[in-house]
């Protein structure tokens, strides 16, 4: 029985200097791979955001908290100009 929730991941092998193309206009190039780190170059159109996954998740969470906790401006603290 096939579980439809499971999406198989495409796994490819690339050498230094080789690339992947996603869709028409996203290219991911392996710049170097050594000591367990892979250095990638991403060429994507301006409207496609590119983030490291864990950083994206953390920023996303903060943004959603900011939107979720927005208050009436009158409830903001009156801040003394601290110098």
């Amino acid at each position: 029985m096939i579980n439809k929730a499971v999406r198989l991941m495409l796994v490819l092998t690339r050498k230094n200097g080789e690339s992947l193309v996603i869709g028409e206009n996203i290219t991911i190039k392996v710049i170097s791979a050594e000591n367990g780190s892979v250095r990638l170059g991403v060429d994507a159109p301006r409207e496609i955001p590119v983030y490291r996954q864990e950083i994206y998740q953390a920023i996303r969470e903060e943004n959603l908290r900011a939107v979720g906790s927005r208050k009436n401006p009158q409830q903001l603290p009156k801040l003394p100009p601290s110098k």
Binding site: I48, I55, N63, A66, R70, P73
Partner: protein, 151 residues
């Protein structure tokens, strides 16, 4: 149209509407945001989606509160903001409120190029541990704001 309505619409027209060409993480569907000052509270701005009224947040001018805070934008961030060579963007940080306590995100501030009407949430790796900094201490000690040291 009565006079008041006309004034409102003309002042709305003058509010900068910024284009976030890459969106904001978690809010990618919204690309156009209006920036308005918070009346009588000039450390804050409202960032309000033009596409969805429920989507908005407060932004803070971080520099008076974190005097050591430095924003060095990458070349691609500067390109996205369409900044000229020596032009500096406006920098604001997002604000969240939890149990009456305010927090701000020093790791991913919002850069704004007013002239070009461009906005981008940038990422500063040197502040990666300061994604959620409490403002309680800073607000309590008006005399000595805490300095954000890069880790």
């Amino acid at each position: 149209m009565d006079l008041e309505a006309r004034n409102l619409s003309s002042s709305a027209w003058e509010r900068p509407v910024l284009h976030f060409s890459r969106g904001l993480p978690g809010l990618e569907r919204y690309r156009w945001f209006e920036v308005t000052p918070v009346p009588e509270n000039h450390f804050f701005l409202m960032l309000q989606s033009r596409e969805e009224e429920a989507v908005g947040m407060f932004l803070l001018d971080p520099f008076p509160f974190f005097p050591g805070y430095r924003c060095q934008l990458s070349t691609s961030d500067r390109e996205d903001l369409e900044l000229d060579d020596h032009q500096s963007p406006l920098i604001y940080t997002t604000v969240s409120i939890w149990n009456e306590e305010m927090f701000t995100n020093l790791a991913a501030p919002i850069g704004i190029n007013v002239a070009r009407r461009k906005g981008k949430q940038v990422y500063l790796p040197e502040y990666s541990k300061q994604l959620r900094v409490s403002l309680a201490e800073v607000l309590a000690t008006a005399a000595g704001p805490k300095i954000a040291e890069p880790l």
